[in-house]
Symmetry: D2
Subunit: 346 residues, 4 copies
């Protein structure tokens, strides 16, 4: 770390900083500049306490960390891509997958018919919310356990592995027994307690980026899971909060490229939540493929007009067919195999 | 709600929208404009399903809600200010309170000596984190149960009621037994499951705004608590994420004014987390008072340099003395009584 | 427009609003809801004054415009794509072009050698700054007139048409005489006076989005140019300001899709300024192609290390060769013809 | 500056960086860390070229500047506050001033009657737009020269010095002859050419912060003016673009505190543009005073309903009277003299 001192530090100030640096296990190197003095603290930042506490000294202006704070998920630690196995599907190993399904599970008929349609169109995993985190307490909160049962039936009928969100620790046992991939949603992306619990379950985790999380914070959330012994993490970019209001969120396509470069984890993109509107979902999906994503997660409803949530962003089955056809040449251009061409899930 | 149709809708389109509006319990009024056609749906939006699902119809461009989505916490529902009773202290009733203490409880000595100092300087409640949500899994996560025990001792020795954060539902019972106000932190501001659990505990809740929460989402989080039977909610603005990087967050002073105007709840401001740097905390504290806040929450450490977290934003005891003196004339100008002049906590 | 009244308006309030609406040339339709009353004002919003002034009435809560404010550049007004002719190149008509060159023109050698290299690698237009807007007054501000002369020489030697930025009206004459496309940079994206002057010059304009401009504001800036008689506008997305700090700006890939859908103008993407770092420029370039962009604008320097500005984001000539090869399959997948395969510029 | 090398640099890499640092006039100090190597470059950063060009070297990860880039406007360079003289008024010297008037000059009657009213209520300077930068080319763009004439008459009748915005260099001569303070609006906050021209006019400048400008960029804009020989700069915070949409912009109250601390310039706040809505303007005004502002700039219209622009944020004369009464005790608490109590302008 680099400790930048305020202008004109006294000899005592510098000695104090050096002493503190030493006590925390680093070796101080002081450089007296023409205008500013800095103390470089040599030592492995990830195995010692942060020197940021020195910012409390009146003579210190700021402390600048040099190393990244995530280790287990970084490419430096493990350059080979992590491949996550879900049923007989492999994620992150060169096959491009699409997770599709309704925002929320509303009924047996709706879920199974949507599952059949998306399976037929190219989806290789099914999504569906049984427990829904909703901004307003007056909005539909999901079917709960009944929703999980329906998802299991849909899986039985289509063979698609199931992805569903957990919103509270107490439901985790139910989800572990019922689904193949547990999703941590954007609202819980900094709910570290939930991250740890999901990690301990050993199940594959689809980890959405928080709506105001930096890329570093997102990767540290993944590190929480990895540190608790679970390396089956699929990152999912879903847009961030910005001033732009023509879309619900701003899809941060750079974050996809950075996550691929910085970590060894598979990276998915959710264009439905990013856009919040149907019309540009195909364009965002193609961009995600081109930026290096390993898969997509999209909302599809057999009758979007009757959807219990986020109706504006749900694709119809016909839209979804077009989407798959639309992204396929880009998947090929990206050197990946479309999951719907592998024959595995037929 | 107002349903805006795309240009040149057919007669069938309009009839379909009107029929859907009717089926959802609203009365449609169609207005054919020169350029655009809109359907106004008459009915109480808070007691019916949202018409936003109509955005899934190809002929609908967007659906515009007219009413606010929170009810119980709104001034329209209850114009009188909510007064929250904590021990023999009243919050939101014209007395201005300062909650002070360390970011995290680190030891008996540190906590009790800080508590004594802040009590002597004007604080009327003590804060201290026993369970800490940390961005990196490698950072100090709090003393846990031991921290709660220390807070109880500090309370015994100073008489200050205690505010502490809950980060997981499973700890709630411990917190309920040990502290006077339970804090929901910014990272859990959309953890609805935790909001509901805290609500059911019946304890006063200090609800921080999420770092990317709109004012409406913040007030809806409060509505979650109120809807679950707990009206003892203290709102706390702590800065939002923006592009500006000279402060850790951007204190949204307008949100303080809006929360006071829109709701009947007391509103606090946490200038420590907003600034992330000591030097401007007094200015932000004064601004908070002037904008109408009912209190402040600030981080104070007897030895900031040894703090286990957020050292750069912790005031020393001497700084805190100055802060109290600094804000006092503004509290008086705002027509409020400084809590440290009421004699109640001496 | 829809005028939403505050709760419980008086009969006089409503009559006053209706009268004002009528006086401004609209026909009022009042709908008394169960909870709220709204007045729908029927009339073409783009040919009358905005009713937003009614927000000054105490009984009015807000006024919601229904129509878009741009006309000439919209697809509704002109569904066919605008094709911009630059020398013997056509932009926006199905051929994908890359504008490449140094951030700033530094010398004859640097500029001509870069121009030759990028022409050889696939660029079909040359970029180079002669007048540079710099955040600090102490930074290099460009070679000015001398820079324009160098650009003309580079054009003579390579045949590449030249794009260069105007930063003040007084330089416009010089630029008009020397370059083929005049760029409006992000910092001047709301400098309406400059937009009008550039429009009147009749030259093709490359219009960058402002760093905090909404998509609507960006398109309205284009409308300023079109309204002043110049339809040769090329939009250019270059990233927006957000909280994310691992990239210099956040490339708003959705804006590319929206601009293509909403307007008839060609849309380019500048991944260099968006990223501010070399490593992810190829990924952003591919994403831009996939989202529907008509071209790219990238910074290339024969010796990035010696660049006078934005060194971190300048590609080397070798990097640029790789970039062109990298994007080509995506250009083909997008159904566009790579400009470097048309044989025109060889 | 600190140059952070990528992991495992070769001896040649380090030698190359050191050589480059030396050639640019700095003295390199290399510190080989356990994990990372950094090169500290010693030398005055404000009098040499930035080492950021080294980011183009493959072995360099990033370059971290240590010093601030503004000099002339900094408190370090000149600790005493800059006092700007406007007529017989002094700004920044302990007297608190309010600039008030309509968004745009619409007619003689409107302007003069507003001027009289605001002068009677406490304003000590008059604002009024003659040249208006408008987002849409179809909106009212101001009365131009006629507007300046009206402002001069209003000044004659009330004695209030006049503040008005310049939007193009060619109008500057007219403004210099007609007004007392020239405003640079948020949209032109990075129009460096206009900043330089205004600087050379020698007139006092009210410099608004750009809607996406960091505090540093805002102060560098002031530095442009100071570097061109004009130290009569009044900074004006007017809110920044964020995700929050219940206000038009987010007033960055921290920026007021930082600008006061970092520079020697007077700092004003414009709560009207920050809020974009009348109801919370008083709260923001009080907060501005408390945070250390030297004055306010507010929009007032004798008949807000007839305003040609930004109607929702214009105070009525009655509102303005209340505002002045509302802020006065806070001005006193802040240790400043209310301008309306000095008797100078009566």
């Amino acid at each position: 770390m680099i400790i930048v001192l305020r202008p004109h530090p006294s000899i005592e100030d510098i000695a104090k900083v050096e002493e503190d640096v030493r006590q925390m296990g680093y070796v101080p190197h002081t450089i007296r500049g023409v205008v500013r003095t800095v103390v470089a603290a040599v030592g492995d930042e990830t195995s010692k306490d942060s020197l940021e506490v020195l910012e409390s000294l009146p003579c210190v202006e700021r402390v600048i960390p040099i190393q990244r704070r995530y280790k287990l998920v970084s490419r430096q630690a493990q350059p080979e891509p992590t491949v996550v196995h879900v049923g007989n599907i492999t994620i992150g190993g060169g096959v491009f997958h699409i997770i599709a399904g309704p925002c929320s599970v509303e009924s047996y008929e709706q879920t199974v018919s949507t599952a059949r349609c998306v399976a037929g169109a190219g989806a290789t995993l099914l999504r569906g919310g049984a427990f829904k985190p909703r901004t307003s307490p007056y909005d539909f909160q999901g079917l709960g356990v009944e929703g999980l049962r329906i998802l299991q039936q849909a899986k039985k009928e289509t063979g698609l592995p199931v992805v569903s969100e957990v919103v509270r620790e107490m439901d985790l046992g139910l989800l572990v027994g019922a689904v193949d991939v547990i999703q941590i949603g954007a609202r819980n992306a900094m709910n570290y307690s939930l991250l740890e619990a999901v990690a301990r379950s050993g199940k594959p985790v689809l980890l959405k980026r928080g709506m105001a999380a930096t890329v570093e914070e997102w990767l540290l959330a993944a590190e929480y899971i990895a540190k608790n012994g679970n390396h089956n993490v699929i990152l999912c970019e879903r847009g961030i909060r910005t001033f732009e209001n023509s879309t619900r969120n701003t899809l941060d396509i750079s974050a996809v490229a950075l996550a691929k470069q910085e970590t060894n984890l598979p990276v998915f993109v959710d264009p439905s939540h990013a856009a919040g509107r149907r019309d540009i979902i195909p364009a965002l999906a193609r961009a995600a493929v081109a930026a290096g994503a390993d898969g997509l997660m999209v909302e599809v409803h057999t009758d979007p007009e009757l959807a219990h949530c986020d109706a504006a962003q749900q694709l119809s089955v016909e839209d979804f067919h077009k989407l798959v056809a639309d992204v396929e040449p880009f998947v090929v251009a990206a050197g990946k195999m479309p999951g719907w061409r592998t024959g595995k899930t037929e």
